[in-house]
C-alpha cells in the first residue's frame, strides 16, 4: 500500500499546500569530470541546454554531455540502453521508468543512491511517499524521481450537457454517456486497442478487482471487468470501427476531429486538445465500479545512475539538480509533464487548471504495473495482441484474461 499512500500524499501537496522551497546547496568542488546523460523529449525543438549551462556554471569542473535518444515507442530507447550496458558503454546516468527497473536490476546495471540521497538538500522537497513508490523490491533506492503524469478521462463537456448528463463517475454512467454521444459517425468512447492501450483498459479491470498476483486476472471481478470493456466495442458499439488498431495518435486525432466523445489519457495532451477544442473539452478521473474502488495508471519517470559509471558523484549532482525545486519546474516545461517537487507543483501554470485538478483528483486511484521483468512484454505484445483478438471475436473476453494470467503466472 506504500504506493497508494504516496500518491495520495503527492496529490494533497500538489493541490493545496504551497511548500517551502528547499534550499539548494551546490558545493562547487574542483573536479574534472564529464557526465554522459541520456534523455528523451517529445518535442525535438526543446533542449535542456539552458539547464546544462546553469549547472555547469554552478559546478565548474563538471561537463554534461547530454544525448537525446529516439524513444521509438520505448523500444528503441531501451534497446540502446541495454546494448550499451552489455557493451560496457552505458552513459553515467539516464532517464528511466519503473517498468524497466526489474530488468535493469537483473543486469546489475543500477547504482544504489541511498547514500547520496541521505545527504541531499532537496530530499525533503519530494514527499517520503514518492520515494517509496520508486523504491526497488530489495528496499534500496535506485531511481531519483523526475516527473509524472496520471491517466484520467477527457470528455466533451458540450455534448454531455446537451444530453443532460453529468461527467461519468461509475462504469454504468460511463456506458450511458458513451451511448448518448454515439450517433452518426461519432462514437462515444475512443477506445485504444493498439500499443499502449493497456493504460486505458486497466481502470476497468484492475479497478474492478483484478490483480497481477496468481489467479488475479481470472477472478470473477477481473473477468467481469474485461467483459464490460470488450462489450463496449462488440455489443454496445460505442467505439470507432478502428478501435482494434488505434494507438495514442489515433485516439487523440479522433477526439480532436470531433469524432469521439471521450478518451482516456493524461495531461500531456491537454494543451493540444484545448488548442483544437477550447472550452468544449474537460476532464475527470476515470470511472470506477459501483463498489467505489477504482484504479488508474501512474506514469512515472526518474533518473538513475548506472553502475558502470566512473563519475557517480558528479552524475548524482546532475540528476539531483534536475529534481530540485525550480530546475524541476523548468525541466517539466520542456517535457509537458508534472513536477515531482512539492514546491514546484504549487506554482505550476503550464496547463489549464481543470486538467491539473483532474490529475490531482486521480492520484488517490493511481498505481503502477507490477515491478516485474514480464511487464515490458505484457505492454508491448501480450496485451495488444490478445485485446485485438478479443475485439475481433477471434477469442472470447475470458480467453484473453487467461492469456494474461498465463503470461504473468503461467
Amino acid at each position: 500500500m506504500k504506493r497508494r499512500q504516496f500518491i495520495q500524499a503527492a496529490g494533497a501537496t500538489a493541490l493545496s499546500t504551497p511548500l517551502i522551497m528547499a534550499p539548494m546547496v551546490n558545493s562547487a568542488k574542483a573536479q574534472a569530470a564529464t557526465v554522459r546523460w541520456w534523455y528523451h523529449f517529445d518535442n525535438p525543438q526543446n533542449t535542456p541546454n539552458d539547464l546544462i549551462a546553469q549547472f555547469e556554471k554552478d559546478n565548474p569542473g563538471i561537463k554534461i554531455q547530454a544525448e537525446s535518444i529516439p524513444w521509438g515507442g520505448g523500444g528503441d530507447y531501451y534497446t540502446r540502453l541495454f546494448a550499451a550496458i552489455v557493451a560496457k558503454n552505458a552513459p553515467d546516468c539516464a532517464m528511466v521508468k519503473l517498468s524497466s527497473q526489474a530488468q535493469l536490476l537483473e543486469m546489475d546495471a543500477l547504482e544504489p543512491l541511498d547514500g547520496h540521497i541521505k545527504n541531499w538538500a532537496g530530499k525533503a522537497d519530494i514527499s517520503d511517499n514518492i520515494w517509496n513508490v520508486n523504491k526497488a523490491q530489495d528496499g534500496k533506492q535506485y531511481y531519483l524521481p523526475l516527473q509524472y503524469v496520471v491517466l484520467y478521462l477527457y470528455y466533451r463537456a458540450d455534448w454531455l450537457q446537451a444530453a443532460g448528463l453529468q461527467p461519468p463517475k461509475t462504469f454504468e454512467e460511463f456506458l450511458a454517456a458513451a451511448k448518448a454521444m454515439t450517433k452518426g459517425d461519432v462514437s462515444g468512447f475512443g477506445m485504444r486497442g493498439g500499443g499502449g492501450g493497456h493504460d486505458n483498459w486497466a481502470p476497468f479491470i484492475i479497478g474492478n478487482g483484478a490483480t497481477f498476483a496468481k489467479g488475479g486476472m481470472v477472478n470473477e471481478q477481473a473477468l467481469a471487468g474485461n467483459r464490460f470493456y470488450v462489450s463496449l466495442a462488440r455489443d454496445h458499439k460505442v467505439t470507432p470501427a478502428s478501435a482494434a488498431s488505434d494507438g495514442f495518435r489515433q485516439i487523440v486525432d479522433g477526439f480532436k476531429a470531433e469524432r469521439t466523445g471521450m478518451i482516456i489519457h493524461h495531461i500531456g495532451s491537454a494543451n493540444e486538445l484545448v488548442t483544437a477544442l477550447g472550452d468544449k473539452v474537460s476532464a475527470v478521473p476515470v470511472p470506477r465500479p459501483a463498489n467505489g474502488k477504482g484504479w488508474t495508471m501512474f506514469g512515472d519517470e526518474s533518473n538513475a545512475v548506472l553502475s558502470g559509471s566512473k563519475n557517480k558523484d558528479a552524475a548524482f549532482k546532475w540528476i539531483s539538480f534536475l529534481s530540485s525545486g525550480g530546475n524541476n519546474v523548468a525541466f517539466n516545461k520542456l517535457t509537458g509533464q508534472l513536477p515531482v517537487t512539492t514546491s514546484g507543483a504549487s506554482s505550476w501554470t503550464l496547463h489549464p487548471k481543470r486538467f491539473v485538478d483532474a490529475s490531482a483528483a486521480s492520484l488517490p486511484l493511481a498505481g503502477v504495473l507490477p515491478d516485474s521483468p514480464k511487464t515490458a512484454d505484457f505492454a508491448r505484445t501480450v496485451w495488444p495482441t490478445s485485446m485485438q483478438r478479443a475485439l475481433l471475436g477471434q477469442i472470447t473476453s475470458d480467453e484473453m484474461m487467461k492469456t494474461i494470467e498465463a503470461h504473468y503466472n503461467g
Partner: protein
C-alpha cells in the same frame, strides 16, 4: 529505334498509363508536402482540408533553426556517399572476377555473398554493437559505413555480375588481342559499357543507406546522427510532431530525387549509344 505509332496511340499506350503510375508514385508524397505547409490546426481537421486556410513555412523554419536536422542531412549525405564509394569500389572487381573467370569455389563464394544478405539485421545488431565498441568505431562515420556495407556489397556484386554477363565476351577478347592488360580491359572496355548498371547500383546503395534506420540508430551517437534517427526524435512518447515530420520527409526525398535527375542521363549511355559498333 523508330516509333511508328500515331499520336493518339501514343497517348493511350504511353502517356496515360505512365501518368497514372507517376500519380500513384507521387500521391502520398504530395499529400505529405501539402501537410508540411499547413498550420497545426488544419493538419488534423475533419473533413480533410485539401486547401488549407493559410499556408505556413513555420515547420520548415522550426526544423532547420530549432532542431539539428540540417547537420543530420549532412551526416546522412556523407554516410550514403561513403557507403556508395566503398560498395562500388570493392564490388566492381569482385563482379568482374565472377563474370569473367571460372575458378574453384566460384559458385560457393557467390552464394556466400547472398547468405550474408539473408540474415535479419535486427538480430545481429547487438553483437555488432559490441564489436564496434571493441574496435572503437561506435559513433563514427566509418562504423556506420561498414555496417551499411553488409547489405551494399553483396547486392552490388550480384547486380554488377548480372549486368556484366550481359556484355559480350568478344569485347574483352578483342581488346586482349590488341595487347591490353586485365586492368585496362576493366577500365577502358567494361567500365564505359557497364555505366548504366554501375549508376543504378550506386543509386541503390545510396538510397538504401540514406533510408537505413537500425544500424544508424544503434551505431551512432550524438556525433554522426543521421536523418532517419533524427526523424524518430519527432515521434515522442506522447506526441507526434506532424508538421516537423512531414517537412522533414519532404526534404529527405529531395537529394535522392535531384541526384537521380542528374545521373539519369547516364542511364542512356552504354550499348545503345554505340559502344558495340565502334
Amino acid at each position: 529505334m523508330m516509333d511508328r505509332r500515331s499520336p493518339l496511340q501514343r497517348l493511350f499506350e504511353l502517356h496515360l498509363p505512365l501518368l497514372v503510375i507517376v500519380l500513384f508514385a507521387l500521391g502520398p508524397y504530395v499529400w505529405m508536402m501539402m501537410t508540411s505547409i499547413k498550420t497545426n490546426t488544419d493538419i488534423g481537421a475533419w473533413p480533410v482540408r485539401y486547401w488549407p486556410q493559410a499556408f505556413t513555412s513555420e515547420h520548415y523554419h522550426a526544423l532547420l533553426e530549432r532542431t539539428s536536422f540540417g547537420g543530420n542531412l549532412v551526416n546522412s549525405f556523407i554516410i550514403a556517399t561513403g557507403a556508395c564509394m566503398l560498395g562500388l569500389s570493392v564490388s566492381l572487381p569482385a563482379a568482374y572476377a565472377f563474370s569473367r573467370y571460372r575458378f574453384r569455389g566460384r559458385r560457393l563464394l557467390m552464394t556466400q555473398f547472398l547468405v550474408i544478405n539473408m540474415f535479419p539485421i535486427v538480430l545481429i545488431i547487438i553483437p555488432l554493437f559490441v564489436l564496434m565498441r571493441n574496435i572503437g568505431l561506435l559513433d563514427t562515420f566509418i562504423g556506420i559505413i561498414l555496417g551499411h556495407s553488409t547489405f551494399a556489397v553483396p547486392f552490388s556484386i550480384w547486380m554488377l555480375t548480372s549486368y556484366m554477363n550481359a556484355i559480350p565476351k568478344d569485347l574483352d577478347e578483342a581488346a586482349r588481342i590488341d595487347g591490353a592488360t586485365t586492368l585496362e580491359v576493366l577500365r577502358l572496355i567494361i567500365l564505359p559499357v557497364i555505366m548504366p548498371g554501375l549508376v543504378t547500383t550506386g543509386i541503390y546503395i545510396f538510397v538504401t543507406s540514406w533510408n537505413e534506420y537500425l544500424f544508424a540508430m544503434m551505431l551512432s551517437g550524438q556525433n554522426v546522427r543521421t536523418v532517419t534517427v533524427a526523424l524518430q526524435l519527432f515521434i515522442g512518447e506522447f506526441s507526434v510532431q506532424w508538421g516537423l515530420l512531414t517537412a522533414a520527409g519532404t526534404l529527405i526525398a529531395l537529394p535522392v530525387t535531384l541526384l537521380f535527375l542528374l545521373v539519369q542521363k547516364r542511364l542512356v549511355s552504354g550499348l545503345t549509344s554505340g559502344a558495340v559498333k565502334s
